[in-house]
């Protein structure tokens, strides 16, 4: 049976862990979105060398498990003389992984923007950068908001992997409490519920953003 008393008692510690999870997710999301957008633009562009390099990046990060990427960054990089705190290792590794997926989402969004939109921008005198900034990206991102929402939700859940490289986030806090209370059912139910609340809130927010961004197609 779930021990409600223990759950309430453990809540402050779990919420402290949840706040770390949120920080990891938010920071890696920023990295993923920024790099992913740049990579998506490169892959939609004409520079063959850059396209090739981004292609290799995407293959590497999509083709290997995130857990391996995290442990590689945590255990192998220090051997090469690169030492980063565990929290930032998690943020960077998850962010870089997310960038690979976001780049493909952005690329599909760019593909969906009709060529005529950029031609109209060119005829009006907008530079390539201005056309990308004011026409291409706003339209591409609007198309892929649902897919980006899914990616961000995945990111929140993936932040739990940071626990394997000693980052004390929600999952790690949960396992710490279990190691002293031996009540896995109560604590992991609480942990799961907090993840569910976080992802549901994010899902709600993304739904609102999607609604707001698609107001131009309302009649």
């Amino acid at each position: 049976m779930i021990d409600i008393g223990l759950l309430i008692k453990s809540l402050p510690q779990l919420l402290k862990g949840a706040s770390v999870s949120i920080q990891i997710a938010a920071l890696s999301c920023s990295i993923g979105l920024t790099l992913g957008t740049i990579f998506g633009l490169i892959q939609s562009g004409k520079n063959k060398l850059l396209k090739f390099l981004v292609g290799i990046y995407v293959t590497l990060f999509r083709g290997t498990p995130m857990l391996i990427q995290l442990t590689f960054a945590f255990f192998v990089l220090p051997e090469l003389g690169i030492s980063i705190p565990a929290f930032w290792t998690a943020v960077i590794a998850i962010g870089l992984n997310s960038a690979a997926y976001v780049s493909q989402i952005i690329r599909s969004g760019i593909k969906a923007v009709s060529k005529g939109q950029l031609e109209a921008a060119q005829v009006l005198g907008l530079s390539k950068f201005q056309a990308t900034r004011y026409i291409l990206l706003p339209q591409a991102i609007r198309t892929v908001v649902p897919a980006l929402g899914n990616e961000f939700i995945t990111l929140v859940k993936d932040s739990s992997l940071a626990s394997v490289i000693t980052v004390v986030e929600l999952t790690k806090e949960g396992s710490r409490i279990v190691s002293t209370t031996y009540d896995a059912l109560t604590i992991y139910t609480g942990v799961a519920l907090i993840y569910l609340i976080m992802t549901s809130t994010l899902s709600f927010v993304m739904g609102k953003i999607e609604q707001r961004m698609s107001q131009h197609v309302k009649n």
Binding site: Q117, Q122, V123, L124, G125, Q130, I135, H216, V217, K218
Partner: protein, 239 residues
């Protein structure tokens, strides 16, 4: 005066413009007439730097134009067949974008210019609407207003009436005529023969990338038999 001299273009091995030459004066409406695939739209796209040419020269007021810098100079404007209005922006923003970002007008000034244009084209009450909330005729007028906002001297219109009913075609014809009267040099690519009857223009019938017959619309409708090729196309006669 716009002078297009011996412009040629191939897409792979297909010749789309074959030593195409044309002379259009200020205040004149030149209608490039012909079926699909004869190169009407291509010449408009060439003038707007949307296609490159293999050979030939283009002059405006006896000065050769560097097509690559034509968009920055705002010499030319284009109304696309499918309008290509920016779907994510409001009606007003479709006009103010280039004014603010390209012509460096202040937000206030850009909105003032946009409002004047929208009022002129009967769209002032739609300024906050999005493109999906406009009818075909309203989109057409907005596309014209957007093209005029950058104050071009030449206006190209690609199939401006292809998706409009006869009443709206008359409205567009009136708009074109009004612009010509204001001094704009206008090039229209169309296969809509109804539009010809409503315009005071010069008709240039095209085939295989070049002009094969020309006549002013007044001359043509006065004496159709003198212009057998245009007459054949307008009447839809099959050999």
């Amino acid at each position: 005066m716009l002078k297009i001299e011996n412009v040629s273009k191939k897409f792979n091995e297909k010749v789309v413009l074959d030593n195409f030459s044309l002379l259009v004066d200020k205040g004149e409406v030149a209608v490039l007439l012909g079926p699909s695939g004869v190169g009407k739209s291509t010449i408009l796209r060439v003038l707007n730097n949307l296609e490159t040419i293999d050979s030939g020269n283009i002059f405006y007021n006896n000065k050769e134009i560097d097509i690559k810098s034509i968009n920055k100079n705002h010499l030319i404007g284009m109304v696309f067949q499918l309008f290509n209005l920016f779907e994510h922006l409001t009606v007003e923003q479709n006009i103010t974008l280039a004014l603010e970002k390209v012509m460096n007008k202040s937000k206030k000034n850009a909105r003032k210019i946009a409002l004047e244009l929208l009022t002129h084209y009967g769209l002032a009450d739609k300024k906050e609407k999005f493109i999906s909330q406009l009818s075909g005729g309203q989109k057409q007028r907005l596309a014209i207003a957007r093209a005029l906002a950058i104050k071009p001297q030449i206006l190209c219109m690609d199939e401006p009436t292809s998706s409009l009913d006869p009443l709206l075609t008359t409205h567009v014809a009136n708009n074109i005529q009004e612009l010509a009267d204001e001094g704009y040099l206008i090039l229209v690519a169309t296969h809509d023969t109804d539009l010809l009857e409503k315009l005071n223009c010069t008709i240039y019938l095209m085939d295989k990338g070049k002009i094969i017959e020309s006549a002013t619309s007044i001359e043509f409708f006065k004496n159709k038999e003198t212009y057998p090729l245009i007459n054949k196309f307008v009447s839809g006669t099959i050999d």
